[in-house]
Symmetry: D2
Subunit: 399 residues, 4 copies
């Protein structure tokens, strides 16, 4: 019923096998992320998109009964739903190697990250951890040691580094096409905290978002500014030397920063700025970056993630998009669909899960294919030094 000159199995536009040859799935556990948890759901979707993991169990909720209810909803074996981290570790490590959970996603509130990550690594589990990595710089440095000693994979989900065009940015900079970097300008603007501080929000629980005991020393810089910081260091390959910040709590009865600007100094006369706000009314998730070099520049914006702009003084601006042979291998490995089919935030997170899976299996990974504990340490330093700079009168702080 089909002409013999074609082979039915070859009747497809793009030979994609290299992109998604799947292997036996990594057994995945999860800390937090139970009923109603936004970020846990995102991690699970990402793990399913890349198809390298099988969710098996975890500690989904501080309330064990709700945790088990969630496990049932997810069609999981309720026996793999545990009441506490310790019982999880004890039970899972007691299982035969082929059955037990190998990697664990930590999607609890910030103040639990350090404890959970450390214990899991020490017990032999690979870890995928939400950011910010820890509560303090000391915890971050301690965790860095734990990771090193463990010989296990540790990934921090700075999700935006999973976008193909962010990876293309990194590769273009690395290629030298920009010449010497002269200026870096990043922003992360959101508006949703307005509804909390101006009392128009029906979600009373939102207020924990502004409690230092839960989120740490910073709201805006800790939650989103640090993403901009990570994006700057990820794409430029440069390290920020010092920061000077001006933060704003906006309302007198708020203890944390909701808004701020951070001056950046890199080595070799390169300056930059990070601007961030959670009260920029009407902004949704406007993370943007511009890297200005002596020869050319790059601009990218998260809400239109598949468009990367290369500017120069002498040539027409160029728009890079995914799924083209002109992109680097790293960018191309981060997109599956043919060009013009938008992939989004879940696929970006999926790419980080994919990179981590490759590392767990001992395969070769691209530089930057998943954020490491080192990036977590840098991020914690950024958050704390930015807060100190402001508190001490807007002075320079070494990073």
């Amino acid at each position: 019923m089909i002409d013999s000159e074609y082979n039915l199995s070859s009747l497809f536009i793009i030979p994609l096998s290299s992109k998604y040859k799947n292997m036996q799935k990594i057994k995945l556990g999860m800390m937090g992320g139970g009923i109603g948890a936004f970020i846990g759901d995102a991690h699970r979707r990402a793990s399913r998109i890349c198809n390298d993991y099988q969710l098996v169990g975890g500690v989904f909720d501080i309330d064990f009964e709700r945790g088990k209810e969630f496990a049932q909803q997810q069609d999981l074996d309720v026996n793999r739903c545990y009441a506490t981290l310790d019982s999880f570790i004890e039970a899972e490590t007691a299982l035969p190697k082929t059955e037990r959970i190998e990697a664990v996603s930590i999607v609890t509130p910030n103040m639990l990250h350090y404890e959970f990550a450390s214990k899991l690594l020490k017990a032999g589990f690979h870890v995928i951890c939400e950011k910010p990595m820890t509560f303090t710089i000391d915890e971050a440095l301690e965790l860095q040691k734990v990771v090193k000693e463990s010989n296990l994979s540790f990934a921090l989900t700075h999700t935006y580094t999973g976008y193909p065009m962010v990876r293309q940015m990194k590769e273009i900079v690395k290629s030298g096409a920009l010449g010497k970097i002269q200026r870096v300008d990043a922003q992360y603007y959101q508006g949703w905290i307005n509804s909390i501080i101006h009392g128009t929000d029906s979600r009373i629980t939102g207020i924990w978002r502004l409690d230092p005991k839960v989120v740490g020393v910073s709201s805006c810089m800790g939650d989103i500014g640090v993403h901009a910081f990570n994006l700057v260091e990820f794409t430029t390959g440069l390290q920020i030397e010092k920061v000077l910040s001006d933060l704003n709590s906006v309302n007198d009865d708020i203890q944390l920063d909701l808004d701020g600007t951070v001056l950046l100094r890199f080595p070799d006369k390169v300056n930059g700025v990070i601007r961030s706000s959670q009260v920029a009314a009407g902004e949704e998730n406007n993370l943007s970056i511009a890297i200005y070099g002596s020869k050319a520049s790059l601009k990218w914006s998260q809400e239109e993630p598949n468009f990367l702009y290369l500017l120069s003084d002498s040539e027409p601006t160029k728009i890079y998009k995914p799924a083209h042979a002109y992109n680097s291998q790293f960018a191309e490995a981060s997109h599956v669909m043919p060009s013009g089919h938008p992939e989004g935030i879940y696929e970006a997170l999926g790419n980080i899960y994919k990179g981590t899976a490759k590392a767990i299996r001992g395969e070769e990974v691209f530089e930057g294919e998943f954020p490491t504990v080192e990036e977590g340490v840098r991020g914690m330093k950024f958050i704390h030094k930015v807060v100190e700079s402001h508190k001490e009168g807007n002075i320079w702080k070494e990073l």
Copy 2:
């Protein structure tokens, strides 16, 4: 370790449980979609994103050995990989109800859709079928009967109707906010066939794309024009009465249309146009639609799917985006992330899989939550009448 006034399990920004409460997974089979198959992979990802399905087996390849290799790659039970449709049906229907595959995705080339869908429905399987639905109008009408008699769910993957902002378009039109529709203008431009007809493509096998025995009476209109047609009828809620087309094979040695324009007549003095090309160099997947009403208009474009524009003569243009309370329930049910986090094409297809799952389970679905066999019949009429109009000298043909 956490302040008692908060409940750890509530520490999340958005109560999402209503959006993704999962239930026991539907056992899914697949026809086609084996090693290297682009569209099969997309369907599997979609089924994993919505998390309502579990891929169990299928006939993945015309070459049984390659099919089994694929099953292994996918970590599937190789015994559920079958050599033929008939053996699939025989074996699966022999299994106990709780074990057997309930729904089957058909992602084979076009000329197999009708046979596979009919047989599967008659054997009691729900079907999710790639478009175009069949090879001929007669097959489409026949399949429509089979679906009706089956009392089973049949979904046709006009993927673009799964985007939240396309659904919002439909709802805005339904609300009457546009007044009387006065004109409809849709386009679907791609450029990738250039590489085949101008010999710059290394993928020799691409030429099957232009063989009537494989793809049917039309290339451009059958592959992509029909998506634009579906989008027009989906969003406006109107039915096109007649079409007049001018098609172009561009190169003398090509038998099928690679490019064309279709004049549309709706009832009540409403005109429109569909423009489509596969040789629009540099276009990626530029499916766009504009609906012009007496009071207001709507514009949407697939490559920036999360932006919907409402224009009027007297007010500022408004940009609708997902994850806002101002959207309809249908649109909001079709997006998970908070605003400003782009979801893409996989999530759109996932929404169609989700709608189909709801129907399979007997839950209430939104009007338009998945494309039906009726839409498939309309699409087949469109393709064939457009080709006839051109061949008969660019004359009007009733649809």
Copy 3:
């Protein structure tokens, strides 16, 4: 007071003298364009922007008293304000050569263009005429003869051809960079007639816009579709061979087309389409064009006139903008400001006035620096053949 090493007169960023060395001004007359006239004002501004003309007199209004009032408002010598065309010609030709008006802008309603232009040319005046050039094809052909015999300059103000990036389009196509043209798609959408047909307009007089005795055989195609047509032939350098149209008067009590689609056939298997509407609610002045070639494509849109997109299947999309050395001489001569300083519609019209002035002075002009009577003839053929095609049942008409 200034360092001697600099010459004060050279302290400016761009040596622009070549762009705007002015010469003695051409004495300009005007037919129509008196008090309250939108288009007359635009022509006067354009003539002042390029600075090659001095408005001296004219027949500004059918009401002589209002005409004189207007002359006074404009600070003109009231003796050069005439009651009729004939008295204008008689008096001005009686003046010494150095004093008399040399060129005349015709900005009256359409039905007067032919008579005024012919008489003026025969009397020795250069003419700048609004479009559409005449009422009928015969008038257009007759006028073409008059122009040829006159040895004078005749310019038709298809304003959009004055934009630098439209000129750059023409030059890129000419350079062969697109390969063989495969498809052309132009649109011109406006919404303002809605306010007339739906009775929401306070300007009762607007209804003349829809009277065939005033505007001729067509509203939408005659007023704006013809601009799209002109843009297609201007930029591609191709001539349309035949057209098939479907027009729509939208409301039963309207005699003229308010909306329509025109299928285009060029030689050598090149097809295209022009879409135009005056009832596309919320559209302002959305004239856009896409030219698709075998190697690359170009896209431009009037509402963002300083952005020209070059697309190809294998390279990043490029954005051309004015004031760059990468542009053609013709484009660069059509923009004065440094890059990033938007020039607009008045400057585009000024460029056409500038080109006409160069021709009047006998200087060399770029091909296409002002639209000619030949373009006017083509435009009239387009309008009439499009109307005939529709009336005769949507059939092909040779152009």
Copy 4:
């Protein structure tokens, strides 16, 4: 020849007389702006666009012969071309009132602004002056006194405040629609100095741009940062209390700032930032501003000047454009063409010339219709305090 029911003189779409009823022209002089001068040409175009002025004479060049050559090119009376400011003042004030120049545009390099403006005002001429207004704060304060005592009009050409949508911004903020302002973020990025510092520029004379003796204490902040500053205070109606800056000369052998970030503090816990660079490779003239309020926000960008975005947390983003009844009177008075016909930078400068003409004639002007000497004083304070902040170790300086 035209149907009697219409009045020919009324056959035009928009009754525009109120917008451009012209009166007797103001006689205009010019200081600087001779052969090859970019900015002088821009001022002359602006004066012709608004049509309220007639250029009569001036001191066009430090080289008297070149000045006279220029006067001839411009078709001016060479006797009104003077060698020096003093001879200009002496001769013009000796003329009868009806003949003499009434207003003078100063388009010389910065260091001459103060002397020229003061002398001209004292001699009874209205003044239109390029920015930055003076060389020092003291000069600025002195000039402010001179203006006050003169009872004459003084306009500073912060051109960008002439755009209709910038004026609309100001009016929306004034209306209270944003609620309390919470954050302001402005940027002005250009890249053209790259060509000078990296030696790729053929224009050797460009180097004066970086000489403190010619341009004053700052390059980037003085030339463009001050425009961003002016735009911030113009649109918000707020005054910046203090600034903290980090500037960068980029290359070791450059004495002035080419790049910098300025932290802003307004009263009442409102913070902001101005970012500016002349070495942002590939940026053309990217002046942008965002004003974030408790209820809504506004965003505007100079390279697409006819689009103004109003964002809010709860409603779709709205795009304001010129020529709509929904705009304020001030915005609508600043645009002539119907909607969708882009006006640009020359028209913006023309609007400032228009506002100044209205003031010269004693007509009522909108608040902000032209920038005043007070804005000039603010600008000089900004430039100097920003430079001091940086030099003194990035500390806060009161403005």
